[in-house]
Symmetry: C2
Subunit: 274 residues, 2 copies
Amino acid sequence: MDRKALVNQIRSKKSFLCIGLDTDLNKIPKHLLELNDPVFEFNKRIIDATKEFCVSYKINTAFYESRGVKGWESLVKTWKYLPKDCFSIADAKRGDIGNTSEMYASAFFNEASSQMSFDSITVAPYMGEDSVKPFLKFDGKWVILLALTSNEGSKDFQNLKVGSDMLFEKVVCKANEWASDEQLMFVVGATRGEAFLNIRKQAPTNFLLVPGVGAQGGSLEDVCKYGMIRDCGLLVNSSRAIIYASSGLDFAEAAAAEAQKVQKQMENVLQAIF
Amino acid sequence: MDRKALVNQIRSKKSFLCIGLDTDLNKIPKHLLELNDPVFEFNKRIIDATKEFCVSYKINTAFYESRGVKGWESLVKTWKYLPKDCFSIADAKRGDIGNTSEMYASAFFNEASSQMSFDSITVAPYMGEDSVKPFLKFDGKWVILLALTSNEGSKDFQNLKVGSDMLFEKVVCKANEWASDEQLMFVVGATRGEAFLNIRKQAPTNFLLVPGVGAQGGSLEDVCKYGMIRDCGLLVNSSRAIIYASSGLDFAEAAAAEAQKVQKQMENVLQAIF
């Protein structure tokens, strides 16, 4: 999905919500456990209930890998079920030397090889340019590079001073030499609202994927105030706060209500630009 | 496997060779393609032929993920087939916020959940302490943290000056606060021999996993000269140069011959310490 199509989705759905499918067998409603593939069945119902309120789904691959082959089967089935008008994200945090990153790119972008072809993948920057480039060779696919993450440990290295900048600013600046804003986004945690000012200096036009609203406590208001640009430029992710809104029979309805609540807030904010 | 057991293996096999199973369906001998699971069949024969010459196998997960569910099946079968006296490495370069890293740890350490339990996993440091800690909760399991990698792109961020140190030195120094040298190793590329001097200042006693000997051109002599310590403290990996030594019917014998050649060099070096 290209930038224009993504922005059109945001405009027409009045939403820049991304829903994270961090689906944990231990957290989904108990009545689903009798089904053949409870994780997929949960995802299916969540997707059906929420797809009108969001423009993107993010699949956190760790939750699927943790169950080995069975988990990987649920992952493939979930990818196939994603609505094709939603921007799909493999939240996989991959990155390795060139010939290995090529394999990771095949895993998430090459349907003939892996039965999956996401629109984008999250990538860790530590290994530099040749670890990122293989993902960029796929036309119409996006790299979403880690810049400033939402967790406490982000301070350990991302905030280190490198000359007059912090490391995460160097990452953003350098990566923008490798690809255009039509193929490169950055992960910027919502828990650090004021940091968006610094990010926007280095990345004035890139889309940002923003985790940390919801369970992790980030503020949607701050994110928009400091991070929003002319064509929105934001995908704000919420995972646990939406998909686990209820653990009862009404879990899908509860997820829809929660997603709609966020969508309404987003609709208000979007009036300023669209 | 604890450090003592690993060192005992090195001592008795007179080798600190790790063989990387970067098994690519497009590179294995054509006659294997008729079999049900060619990747596993290739690995099985390579393991049988080389296990007396190495102390460790490293499975590069990207090569398996690239084939989706089928690849993950080959991965699980290969893990089960690894000799239990060899130190097993999931070369997965994972790392995410705490609750997600817990899931990645389950994927590679918790056999009840994923049917696999490697001795160790490679982890990317960019997200800091809480992204690494969940892997350390597993008794007897190791984190192998990326420090200075063997690729060209390692210069983009790992070599940035942070105060008087380079970023990779900060990573090594900080990570040694999180775990002891009984649970924490570092990846240091063989292509940068002299860099071992700096690494050993920050990590005088940690084992180092050293890729880049062989296809990537690193020198075993330099690695040993600058990196070896009293109980060896090195696992030197070779992947393509060994497993693809021949593409014919004799591929396993050729791999064995190549592995033995490296083992003999290692035996010579080890005489200085054992």
